[in-house]
Symmetry: C2
């Protein structure tokens, strides 16, 4: 028999990281290695399966460029991205729940006046929607000077950055609250859309019997001096896929009515101290 | 507070794989996902660290082509490849221990007569070595017709496939035993060598305070009809790095004397039934 067990082998591998100059990197690598080894033993990974995994990772890497990050898409579809948000942005009781940031935010969206439209390129299928409400602190006090960075896919299901036919920064805007903390965004009712399935992450979804759709939503980053920034979505209660969002971003408290051309939602922020 | 805990989130993600048409793929993905999520929670991975990981994986992917598989190198240096060998090729008590296959095997090595040399391109630093012994079954009975596929790095530390100056198939040969089960290979004493450190896997080694060297060794795949094939190395007892092989391949039973121009080692195979 072998003179070393998998547990002894793991201990040997981990010991090589004892002297990592960056203690945090050493800690992260040790945990990652322990879980990789436990995974291999747990499933009894065959050499063929290991090799298929190596080839799969290389194929995911080949899909990555400055416009497409297939590892992030994989992380999203395996619930890892949402988990990272969950543990880093714990929402205090009563505050707005966070969800995934997603890959489609763009810096430099136009600053708009309250009530303005974020629609640059109207589309035939547009269904007008006004999203409005108040940004308040936990106690319900309106927050003046809160910034709402809003973005969403157009009615064809694509974000501007995915669609050469759209004007850059279509369906994006930044709104700043006045003394009443109120906000109002003129937009279109969001649609559900598929995440890209032309790469290995999509192939894995289909191979495991999963679909690649996200329920209809509008993205918000809401920030204000003295408050924790919240990254979140508002989901359309009538949308398909609310129970099976491919990236696991849905939270009950973020599902709102959008079926009469209006959507009312108050964002509640937590003070930083 | 969030209306869902990390554990509930994990359960939801795992449930999406309940209907995977390929049950084995579903099993593998569920275990991998559970370990990924546990890792994220265990180290409290920040969003910045998660993003650095995503960028790192993409960078590893960019190093992969038909001549270089950086994910395999990473797997090797994290002890995962050796673990896969260990759990898939458990050696029966008294038989030759396996170790990693490595990325440098090539099919089509020349079939040589017993005692022949595998040296095509002699080098100034060559130190002649004869490796010899017997291939036997567990009870010590010689195995006739056993095939030994032998390969090693040249005295400059490079395999033929890494070094344009070498003739293809330099330092490679296939030997077949006669009725006495004996084998003899004329070669050079192996040298220790570094694995490539010009990519992300090497950068990770250095960032965690590790070196990138393998101790001196000769590769063997020993097979015979009716016996389990063993993939292994013989290591030079005088080599540096025996205690710190970057790919964790050293086993005590595979360390042999090579310091007098001779190396004696008997391979013991296990019957397949």
């Amino acid at each position: 028999m072998s003179n070393i067990t998998p547990a002894e082998h793991l201990a040997e591998v981990l010991s090589r990281f004892d002297d990592a100059p960056d203690a945090r990197l050493g800690e992260i690598m040790k945990s990652a290695i322990r879980h990789m080894h436990e995974f291999v033993v747990e499933v009894g990974l065959t050499r063929e399966e290991w090799f298929a995994g190596m080839e799969g990772l290389a194929a995911i890497g080949r899909m990555c460029d400055d416009k497409r990050q297939e590892f992030i898409l994989l992380s999203d579809t395996l619930g890892v991205s949402m988990l990272v948000e969950m543990i880093n942005h714990l929402a205090a009781e009563g505050t707005t729940e966070p969800t995934v940031f997603g890959p489609f935010h763009v810096d430099g969206a136009p600053r708009l006046a309250m009530g303005d439209s974020i629609i640059v390129d109207p589309m035939d299928d547009d269904e007008p929607l006004t999203v409005r409400g108040q940004v308040t602190s936990l106690g319900g006090v309106p927050i003046e000077g809160a910034e709402l960075d809003v973005w969403q896919a157009a009615s064809n299901g694509f974000y501007d950055v995915q669609d050469d036919a759209q004007t850059p920064l279509n369906m994006r805007g930044i709104f700043t609250t006045g003394a009443d903390g109120r906000y109002e965004v003129s937009t279109v009712r969001p649609v559900s859309y598929p995440v890209p399935d032309d790469g290995p992450a999509g192939a894995l979804l289909h191979a495991t019997g999963r679909h690649n759709w996200r329920p209809a939503h509008v993205h918000f980053v809401v920030s204000a001096p003295g408050y924790k920034t919240v990254i979140t979505h508002l989901f359309d209660r009538d949308s398909d896929f609310l129970d099976s969002d491919v990236v696991f971003g849905v939270r009950d408290s973020l599902i709102v009515d959008m079926n009469d051309g209006r959507c009312d939602y108050d964002f509640v922020l937590e003070p930083t101290v």
